[in-house]
Symmetry: C2
Subunit: 236 residues, 2 copies
C-alpha cells in the first residue's frame, strides 16, 4: 500500500503539502476522484478520495480510516548526543525509524559537540523512512539536556539503560532487555559520558550496559542498541 503524508484539517478532510504533492499529481498522475492513502503519524491510515489538486496542495476527503497495528511491541526511546557530522545522525534517524522507534531524544551532554540540529530536515527524513518501511506511527523528536532527561526519568514506568565506555560493572545489552518492558537507552557523545553523568544516571535508576568490545561510533551504537532491542521484541 503506497502511503503519503497528510495533515488533518477536520474529521473528514486531509490536505497534502510538500513533496508528496508532486508524487501524487505528477509521478502517479492522480486526478480528482482518484483514491489515495494518507497517514498523519497517529497510526491511522486514511483511505481518501482526492477533491482538489493545485501546484502546492492536494485536498482529500476521508472515506474510511484504519488503525494499524504497530510493527513492534514495547515502546523504545533512544537518547543520543548528536555528532557534528549531521549526515551520521540523519542516517541513524532514518535507520531506526525503519526498524521501529517511539521517541528520539537529542541530548546535550558535557562532552557533546556543538551542533545545530535541523529539525525540519530530521522531520522529512522521519516521514520518508516511515513511508519506506510502512511504519505509520511517527516517533516523537525531542531536544533536551542530559540532566533534564535524567530528572524526568521515572524508573517505575521505564527500563533505563546507559551505554558507556568507562570503568565499572556493565551487562551486555541483551540479557537486560529480556524483561520486555518499555525502555529508554542513552547513547553518549563520541567522547563518552563523563563519570559524573554516569553516576547521576545510575542514581536515577538507569542500568549500565555494554554494547560489546568494539568501540562503536555514536550512530553505530544507537543503531546497534535499537536493533538488538527490536530483535528480542518482535511481533510475528
Amino acid at each position: 500500500m503506497q502511503l503519503f503524508w497528510g495533515n488533518k484539517i477536520n474529521d473528514s478532510v486531509l490536505i497534502v503539502q510538500g513533496e508528496d504533492v508532486g508524487h501524487i499529481s505528477k509521478s502517479l498522475r492522480k486526478k480528482i476522484g482518484d483514491e489515495v492513502n494518507l497517514i498523519d503519524g497517529s497510526g491511522k491510515v486514511f483511505h481518501c478520495v482526492i477533491t482538489k489538486i493545485t501546484r502546492n496542495q492536494v485536498d482529500a476527503v476521508v472515506m474510511s480510516e484504519e488503525l494499524m497495528e504497530k510493527n513492534w511491541k514495547n515502546s523504545l526511546s533512544l537518547a543520543v548526543s548528536p555528532t557534528k557530522n549531521l549526515d551520521r545522525i540523519e542516517w541513524l534517524v532514518e535507520k531506526i525509524v525503519e526498524i521501529g522507534i517511539d521517541c528520539i531524544y537529542f541530548i546535550q551532554c558535557e562532552r557533546s559537540q556543538k551542533v545545530n540540529i535541523r529539525l525540519d530536515r530530521i522531520n522529512r527524513i522521519v516521514q520518508s523512512a516511515m513511508k519506506q518501511s510502512n511504519n505509520v506511527y511517527k516517533p516523537l523528536i525531542i531536544q533536551k539536556s542530559f540532566t533534564g532527561l535524567i530528572q524526568d526519568f521515572n524508573a517505575n514506568e521505564l527500563n533505563g539503560f546507559i551505554a558507556h565506555c568507562g570503568d565499572g560493572d556493565k551487562q551486555p545489552l541483551c540479557r537486560e532487555i529480556i524483561k520486555l518492558k518499555d525502555t529508554l537507552i542513552l547513547i553518549g557523545p563520541e567522547g563518552d559520558f563523563t563519570p559524573d553523568e554516569v553516576t547521576i544516571a545510575l542514581k536515577s535508576g538507569f542500568l549500565p550496559i555494554s554494547l560489546g568490545s568494539s568501540r562503536l561510533r555514536t550512530e553505530t551504537a544507537g543503531l546497534y542498541a535499537v536493533s538488538v532491542f527490536r530483535g528480542l521484541n518482535l511481533i510475528q
Copy 2:
C-alpha cells in the same frame, strides 16, 4: 592504542603506504626511532619502531607482536545484494565492520540492480572502520553469484539463513540464532529474492527468517541482522 595499517614484507619488517603515511609522519610527527603500532588484518598488532620515512612510505621493524582476541564469538558472514546507490552499501560495510563481521559477500541475484562495486573504496572503508573500532581482524570481501554461493554452502559447517519478504513460514531471527554457531545470513535486493531463489536456498539447508514486520531497506536489513546476531553472541 592508536593503530595504523602496514604490509608485512618479512617476519621483521612492515611498510606503511597510503593515507596512514601522512597520519604518522605529519599528524603525529613521528620520526625514525619512534614507536608505532601496526596491523595487517590478521588479528596481530605489531609493536614496531620506525626505520625510514619518505613522502609515500614508512618502514618499520617489528619489536614484538601480539595476537589480539577477537571482539566477538562465532564467525558471521553477510551476503548482500548491493544497491545502485553505493553510499548505502558503503555505510553498511563501515557499520558492520565496526560491530564485527568475518566475511562480506556481494551477491548478484536475479533482481539485483546493476552495480559496479569499487573494491578499492570498500577496502579503504573497511580499514578505516577497523582502526576506528579497534577490530584487528579484517573481514574477507568476496563478489559472488547467488547460485555460486548456495552451491558452495555446507550446512554441516554453518547455520544459513535467508531473509525474504515472500510467503511461507519464517522464524524471527533471534530464536534461530540462539544456537550460537558460525553463521551466514543472506539479504536480498530491494526487489527481494525470487521464489525460485528462496526454494534453492531452502533445499541447500538455509532457514527462512523474518526481520520483523517493517519493510527494511537492503542496508538496514543487513545492519539489523548483524546487530541482532552480535547482540546475542557477545564476549564480555
